[in-house]
C-alpha cells in the first residue's frame, strides 16, 4: 500500500484536508497543536493518507524539543513514504516555505497546496511564479474548506500518483558551493539501507550536518568528515551549522518572495473615511487641537454622566453601611473601638468607594471607546511630534500613555525603550500622568467645589500633568543626561466603529479590579485609623486622640500649600496617598466623619428612613427634580466644603496631589527597573515640583505673602535636585561607560 504524508506548519489546515480526503472526523480547530500524533486512514484500496503533526521544520535541532515536531520528523526519516502533500499557509508564506525547502530536499514526489487564500488581506499570491521557482513540483492554490477545491486536489493527487514513476525529480538546493561540497562529502560517507529509509541521502546528510540525530542512523563513522565540514563552515561564518543552513534557506526564500507575494494597497489606504479623518486628526496643528478637544469631551462626558448617578450610589452606602450598621451596633451596645472600625472605618470607606464607581466606570468606558475607535495611536503620533521638538524620546510617549491608566505598568513599559538613558527619563516623567487612582480623588473634589464645570478642572489637571512631565523630560534631556533621541514608529490602524458589548464588558472588568484593589486599602486603613482614634493622650492641655496629635504635628508642613491647622485630616490623607493614591479620598472621608462624630441621631424607623432616602436618590436621576433639589447630600462633600474654606486652597491641594511623590508601588518598580538613586530622585523631584506649583497657585490667587518662603525653599530644593541628579548621571556614565549607558 502506498503512503501519502500530509505535512505543513501547525494550524495550516492539514487535518481539514485529511478529513475531506478520507471522510474521517478527526478533531480540527483554529489554533496550532491540535494534531499531536500520527493519524492514518485509507484514501482508496491501495492508498493510505497519513496526517502528521504540524511542524515548522523537520530538523530536530530547530524545534527546542517540541514533541509533535519530532514525531513528524522521525516519521519522515524512518518510514517509507511515497508521496508528500505539503500544505502552505498563505498568510505566513515565508515560514511555510522554510519547511517546503526542507521537504523538497527529500526528493519525493510532492504536491504543494497553497491554503487559506480566501483569508488574504491586501495581498495576492502569484501561483505561477511560485510554480516556476519550485519547478518541477506541482502547486495548487486552494481553500481546504471548499468542496470544489477538494475535488481539484483529488484530481491532481490521482494524476500525480499515476505519473510518479515518469517524474524525474531535481532537488532544489538553496546553499552556497561550500555548503554543497560539505553535503556531498557527508553523503558519500553515509552507509544506508535504502529499503528502510524514505528520505534522500542528501536530506539525511543536511540534517546530520546541522547537528541533528536521526533515529536508526549511526553517525560515529562520520565523525571525522562532519568535524572537518563543521570546522570549515563555522570558521567562515562564526555561527552554528544549523544557523548557516537555515540562513541559506531564508536567503533563497527572500530571493523568490518579491515575485510571489504581491502587496496591494492597505485597508487604511483604501478607506476614504480613515484618510479624511487622519488629514485632520494627525495634522501638524489641527491634530493637537483635536486631541485637546477630544480629551476635554471625554472628561465632560464621563463626569456629567457619572455625577447623575453618583448621589444614588453614595446614598445607598450611607443608608445601609453607615446608618444601618450604626443602628445594629447601637442595639447591640458594642464597644467604641468596634463602632469606629465598622462605621467610620469600613462603612465610610466602602461608601466612598461606592461613590467612585460611576466615575471610574465612565472614565474606563470613555478611554476604552477611544481605544476601540483606533484613535489612541494617533494621539501618540500627534504628541510624538511635540516631544521631538522638545528633544525628548518620541517612543517614551507609549509608557506615558499607559501612565494615564496606572503608573506601575507604565514604568514596566519603559523596558521597550532602547537606551538606559531613555528608560530613566521616561520613568521619571511617568508619575506626572494622572492615573485612574488620582482621578477618583479629583472627581469628588471637582464635583463638590466646582459643580458647574468639573470637567474643566479635571482637564486642566491632566494638561498640567502632561506639561510638568514634558518640562521634567526637557530638563533631564538637556541638562542632566543628554543623549541622542530615538524615533517613534507605530502602525496607525484604520478607524472602526466600536463594539459596545466589548467596551462595556471591558470597563466593568476594570472597574471591579479597581474596587477590589481599593477594598484592600479600606480594610487596612480602617484598622489603623480605628486604633489611632481610640488611643487618647493629654496634648497641650486637652485630651486628643493619637491620630489628631499626629495630624496636628504634620500639618504645619502643608501650611504653605493652603492646608490650615484645623484641617489636619487633609495632611494625613497626603501621607496615606503615598501608599496608594486612592486612599487620599478614603482617608479624608473616614477622618472627617470620625472627627465630627456626625451620626449622633439614629432614625427611629430604619426601614422607613432607608426607603425614603433611596426614593429621593432615584428622583435625583430625573432632570427636573434634580434642578429643584440641587444640594449636596453626601456627608463627605459637606465635610470637604466645611474644611476647605476657599477655592484657591482646593486648587492648590488638588495640584499638590497631582504632582507630589509617586505611590510606593511606582517608586519600588522604578527602583527595580533602574536603581534606588533614580527612584529617590523621582520622589524628591516630584515633591519639590508639587510644593512649588501649589504654593505658586496660592500666591497667585491669594496674593499671600507667607508662602514666599515656601516658594524660595522649593526653588532651592529643585536646584539641588538638578545638581545631585547630574552627579548621579555622571557617576553612572563613568561606571558603565557612556556607550553602555546610552545603549542598554
Amino acid at each position: 500500500m502506498k503512503k501519502i504524508a500530509l505535512l505543513g506548519n501547525p494550524n495550516c489546515g492539514k487535518t481539514t484536508l485529511f478529513n475531506a480526503l478520507t471522510k474521517k472526523r478527526n478533531k480540527v480547530a483554529n489554533w496550532a497543536g491540535v494534531t499531536v500524533e500520527v493519524a492514518t486512514a485509507a484514501y482508496s484500496k491501495n492508498l493510505e493518507i497519513i496526517d502528521l503533526p504540524g511542524c515548522y521544520s523537520i530538523c530536530h535541532a530547530d524545534t527546542s524539543g517540541a514533541i509533535d515536531e519530532m514525531i513528524a520528523a522521525n516519521y519522515l526519516f524512518n518510514n517509507k513514504v511515497d508521496f508528500i502533500v505539503n500544505i502552505i499557509d498563505s498568510s505566513n508564506l515565508v515560514r511555510s516555505l522554510y519547511l517546503t525547502t526542507q521537504l523538497l530536499e527529500l526528493e519525493l514526489p510532492t504536491i504543494i497546496i497553497v491554503n487559506k487564500v480566501d483569508l488574504l488581506k491586501n495581498t495576492t499570491i502569484n501561483i505561477e511564479s511560485l510554480a516556476k521557482s519550485l519547478k518541477p513540483y506541482a502547486i495548487i492554490s486552494a481553500c481546504t474548506n471548499d468542496p470544489k477545491d477538494i475535488i481539484n486536489i483529488k484530481h491532481m493527487l490521482e494524476n500525480k500518483m499515476l505519473n510518479t514513476q515518469k517524474q524525474k525529480l531535481k532537488p532544489i538546493l538553496c546553499f552556497s558551493d561550500e555548503i554543497k561540497n560539505c553535503i556531498e562529502k557527508v553523503q558519500q560517507s553515509l552507509a544506508l539501507d535504502e529499503a528502510e529509509i524514505t528520505a534522500s541521502k542528501q536530506a539525511i546528510a543536511i540534517n546530520i550536518l546541522s547537528g541533528n540525530k536521526i533515529k536508526n542512523i549511526k553517525t560515529e563513522s562520520l565523525y571525522n568528515t562532519l568535524d572537518a565540514c563543521r570546522k570549515k563552515l563555522q570558521i567562515e561564518s562564526q555561527e552554528d551549522m544549523d544557523i548557516v543552513i537555515a540562513q541559506a534557506r531564508y536567503d533563497f526564500i527572500k530571493s523568490i518572495m518579491p515575485k510571489i507575494e504581491i502587496k496591494q494597497k492597505t485597508e487604511k489606504e483604501n478607506d476614504p473615511v480613515t484618510k479624511r479623518l487622519d488629514d485632520i486628526l494627525t495634522h501638524k496643528y489641527l491634530g493637537i487641537i483635536s486631541l485637546m478637544c477630544i480629551m476635554y469631551f471625554l472628561f465632560f462626558f464621563a463626569l456629567s454622566t457619572a455625577s447623575s448617578v453618583q448621589q444614588l450610589f453614595s446614598n445607598i452606602g450611607e443608608v445601609f453601611l453607615i446608618t444601618g450598621t450604626a443602628t445594629i451596633l447601637n442595639k447591640l451596645n458594642s464597644p467604641d473601638i468596634f463602632n469606629i472600625f465598622l462605621i467610620h472605618g469600613l462603612g465610610q470607606g466602602i461608601t466612598t468607594l461606592l461613590s467612585f464607581i460611576p466615575i471610574v466606570f465612565t472614565m474606563f468606558y470613555s478611554i476604552n471607546f477611544l481605544e476601540e475607535t483606533g484613535y489612541m495611536p494617533r494621539a501618540a503620533f500627534v504628541t510624538d511630534r511635540l516631544m521631538r521638538i522638545l528633544h525628548l524620546p518620541g517612543k517614551a510617549f507609549i509608557p506615558l500613555l499607559i501612565g494615564f491608566s496606572c503608573n506601575v505598568p507604565a514604568i514596566i513599559a519603559t523596558r521597550t525603550l532602547e537606551t538606559k538613558r531613555d528608560r530613566i527619563i521616561a520613568g521619571i516623567m511617568t508619575p506626572f500622568m494622572l492615573c485612574n487612582a488620582r482621578l477618583a480623588v479629583f472627581a469628588i473634589f471637582a464635583s463638590t467645589f466646582f459643580p458647574t464645570y468639573p470637567s474643566v478642572i479635571i482637564f486642566s489637571l491632566y494638561i498640567t500633568g502632561v506639561i510638568v512631565a514634558i518640562i521634567t523630560g526637557f530638563i533631564l534631556c538637556r541638562f542632566i543626561i543628554p543623549g541622542d533621541i530615538q524615533p517613534l514608529i507605530m502602525e496607525l490602524p484604520p478607524y472602526q466603529i466600536p463594539k459596545q458589548k466589548t467596551i462595556i464588558a471591558n470597563s466593568l472588568t476594570k472597574t471591579v479590579k479597581f474596587c477590589f484593589r481599593v477594598g484592600k486599602y479600606i480594610v487596612g486603613l480602617s484598622g489603623i485609623i480605628s486604633i489611632l482614634s481610640s488611643v487618647s493622650y493629654e496634648y497641650h492641655g486637652a485630651t486628643k486622640t493619637l491620630l489628631e496629635i499626629i495630624g496636628a504635628n504634620i500639618t504645619p508642613m502643608f501650611n504653605g500649600i493652603g492646608v490650615s491647622n484645623d484641617n489636619w485630616p487633609a495632611s494625613v490623607a497626603i501621607i496615606a496617598g503615598i501608599v496608594a493614591k486612592e486612599t487620599v479620598i478614603i482617608t479624608l472621608s473616614q477622618l472627617y466623619n470620625g472627627s465630627l462624630n456626625n451620626i449622633t441621631t439614629l432614625p427611629s424607623d430604619f426601614w422607613a428612613y432607608a426607603i425614603d432616602n433611596i426614593q429621593n436618590s432615584f428622583m435625583l436621576l430625573v432632570p427636573f427634580y434634580k434642578a429643584s433639589h440641587n444640594e449636596i447630600n453626601s456627608s463627605l462633600q459637606a465635610n470637604l466644603k466645611m474644611f476647605f474654606t476657599n477655592n484657591s486652597n482646593v486648587i492648590a491641594y488638588l495640584f499638590f496631589n497631582l504632582l507630589y511623590m509617586p505611590c510606593i508601588s511606582t517608586i519600588i518598580t522604578f527602583a527595580k527597573e533602574t536603581n534606588w538613586r533614580w527612584a529617590m530622585f523621582s520622589a524628591t523631584w516630584s515633591l519639590s515640583i508639587a510644593y512649588l506649583i501649589a504654593s505658586l497657585i496660592l500666591k497667585l490667587t491669594n496674593m499671600a505673602t507667607e508662602n514666599i518662603l515656601v516658594i524660595s525653599v522649593t526653588v532651592i530644593a529643585i536646584a539641588l535636585n538638578i545638581i545631585i541628579s547630574k552627579r548621579i548621571a555622571q557617576k553612572e556614565i563613568k561606571n558603565e561607560s557612556g556607550h553602555e549607558f546610552n545603549s542598554n
Partner: protein
C-alpha cells in the same frame, strides 16, 4: 538583515518587540517575523509577559507587540 544580525540585536537589548527589531533594521515587521519565530522555535528567544498594551482594543497585531528576551538556556 539575517538570523545572526537579529540574534546580535536581541543580545544587545533587555527585551524587544518585532516592531522594535524592524525599526532597528529599517524594514517592515512582517519581514522580521519569521526570523524571530526561528529563534523562538530554537528556544533561544523567550516570550516575556508584559502588561504594556495600551488597553483593550485589538486593532494592533499583538504578535508584533509581543516582547522577546534573549536567553542563553535552551528550554
Amino acid at each position: 538583515m539575517n538570523l545572526i544580525q537579529i540574534k546580535k540585536y536581541f543580545q544587545s537589548v533587555p527585551m524587544a518587540t518585532t516592531i522594535d527589531v524592524a525599526e532597528h533594521f529599517k524594514t517592515q515587521p512582517v519581514e522580521i517575523k519569521c526570523y524571530v519565530e526561528h529563534w523562538e522555535h530554537k528556544g533561544l528567544l523567550k516570550k516575556c509577559i508584559t502588561k504594556n498594551k495600551c488597553g483593550s482594543c485589538s486593532l494592533c497585531d499583538f504578535d508584533l507587540l509581543q516582547h522577546y528576551k534573549w536567553s542563553t538556556k535552551v528550554a
